[in-house]
């Protein structure tokens, strides 16, 4: 792992502002890679999956590591906030405990200290935890380039394995998690098959908005780690609208997901196994969000 055979010379640039970082990215384009916490990128460099001439480090860029809450806006997670910061943030815990818990389920405490929220989302690894939950929460990514600022809904941000909607010259500056409806509740279940701090075999997020009578206004279910990007099926979600979520209906939704995903096979589980586990974890995620089910 430590032999950098044939790797090209890398120059490290350390911009001191967001503007400088965007300018450096625009100037070097395909020759450059942004590096934040480096926990994913250094591995890619070691394995020669990327070989940039320039690394644009965000380590000295101020102002991108805030985690704040604004009424009517929701939670704003700066791209450079560490995953640990997001996990332990009082405002994230207060306004979206499931999201704080999800950040707490990423990797191990060392990776969570070094890795950033923006790096996790930009890496777009199929077996990451936060993307699944951020999609269910209808979060948006804020991207900045010389052409200006734009917001990308996370439902459109993840394209495929390690592929996002970010253009080569766009910097991710923050993730905005909109204010959730008063009746909304969520859960995220991370199913690991090797060790507690491994990436997931399956990640299942359920988001449920209930009215005062306990009838479901809207259900969202996102499944992570089964395909190139988080999977969500509107047809299955629609089954729940206007209904009480009882065992039969929950089972129907879970079965729909199990049948309609096109699961991959990797060291954490075969496609066959993932399909079966998808049925189990969709069901449990919905039950847990309802407060009906216990811990896994």
């Amino acid at each position: 792992m430590r032999v950098f055979f044939g790797m090209r010379d890398i120059d490290i640039l350390e911009p001191r502002s967001v503007e400088e970082a965007v300018a450096a990215l625009a100037q070097h384009g395909d020759e450059a890679k942004v590096i934040a916490g480096g926990t994913a990128l250094v591995l890619m460099l070691k394995n020669q999956l990327v070989s940039p001439a320039y690394l644009i480090s965000l380590g000295r860029v101020p102002g991108l590591d805030g985690v704040t809450y604004g009424a009517g806006v929701g939670l704003r997670l700066g791209a450079l906030a560490s995953i640990r910061q997001a996990e332990t943030s009082a405002v994230v815990r207060q306004h979206c405990p499931t999201l704080a818990e999800t950040f707490g389920k990423v990797a191990n405490v060392r990776v969570r200290h070094a890795a950033t929220v923006g790096g996790n989302v930009s890496e777009a690894d199929y077996a990451s935890d936060p993307p699944c939950v951020l999609v269910a929460l209808r979060a948006r990514a804020v991207a900045l380039s010389p052409r200006g600022r734009r917001e990308i809904p996370l439902t459109e941000f993840f394209r495929d394995f390690y592929e996002t909607a970010l253009a080569a010259d766009e910097l991710l500056t923050e993730i905005v998690v909109p204010e959730q409806p008063a009746g909304a509740r969520q859960s995220y279940l991370k199913f690991v098959t090797r060790s507690s701090e491994d990436r997931p075999c399956i990640g299942a997020c359920a988001w449920i908005d209930l009215d005062e009578a306990g009838v479901c206004r809207e259900l969202r279910v996102t499944l992570g780690a089964v395909a190139g990007k988080p999977q969500e099926f509107a047809e299955a979600e629609a089954l729940a609208a206007g209904q009480r979520l009882g065992p039969d209906l929950i089972g129907q939704v879970a079965q729909y997901y199990a049948e309609h995903i096109d699961p991959l096979s990797d060291a954490r589980g075969s496609a066959w196994y993932r399909r079966r586990m998808a049925a189990v974890f969709v069901r449990r995620a919905i039950e847990q969000a309802l407060g009906a089910g216990g811990e896994v």
Binding site: M1, R2, F4, M7, D9, I10, D11, I12, I35, G38, T39, V42, L43, L45, K46, L55, S57, G59, R84, A107, N108, V109, R110, V111, H113, A114, S195, S196, E197
Partner: protein, 161 residues
């Protein structure tokens, strides 16, 4: 490509010329001869290369040395300067190791844990140390040592250590 950077390791500042692709792990071992920092997996999973950066445990195998410039880096060599640190003493007293390859990583992670949370429950210890692997399987003794170290470090017990 080489880059001259100012690293602050165990309180000492030093200018070193590092290759831009070298990790902090490489530089701590080769330039600083700090051999408590060990390469196990090389992919951030095992914890053998743990160092504290600004007081927080990180995998030095995943951090480019050039990007650690001007940050406070601590290795286990800084712990035992005036005799064993109470955490080290607790590990010795509980024989919380066999081959000891993983021990420096466990000690530093424990230090960070106890600074954040001076009286952790066994569950909290497990969660914080889950990413440090001990292939000899000394986990039970490590748990005892960490809980004991927490007790020893409580201000009320300072004299007893």
């Amino acid at each position: 490509m080489k880059k001259t950077v100012r690293l602050r390791v165990n309180g000492l500042e030093q200018e070193v010329s590092v290759a831009t692709h070298h990790t902090l792990l490489d530089v701590l071992r080769r330039e600083f001869k700090l051999h408590s920092v060990r390469e196990g997996c090389g992919i951030g999973m095992c914890g053998a290369c743990t160092v504290l950066v600004e007081g927080k445990p990180v995998s030095s195998c995943l951090l480019l040395a050039a990007l650690a410039a001007e940050k406070d880096v601590v290795t286990v060599e800084a712990l035992g300067r005036q005799g064993l640190h109470p955490i080290q003493q607790a590990f010795v007293d509980h024989t919380a190791f066999q081959c000891s390859f993983c021990t420096p990583g466990f000690l530093l992670t424990t230090k960070a844990l106890l600074e954040e949370n001076p009286a952790p429950t066994p569950e909290q210890v497990k969660a914080y140390l889950a990413g440090n692997l001990c292939r000899c399987g000394s986990y039970m003794k490590i748990m005892d040592a960490v809980l004991d170290a927490a007790r020893r470090l409580q201000p009320a017990n300072a004299n007893a250590t």
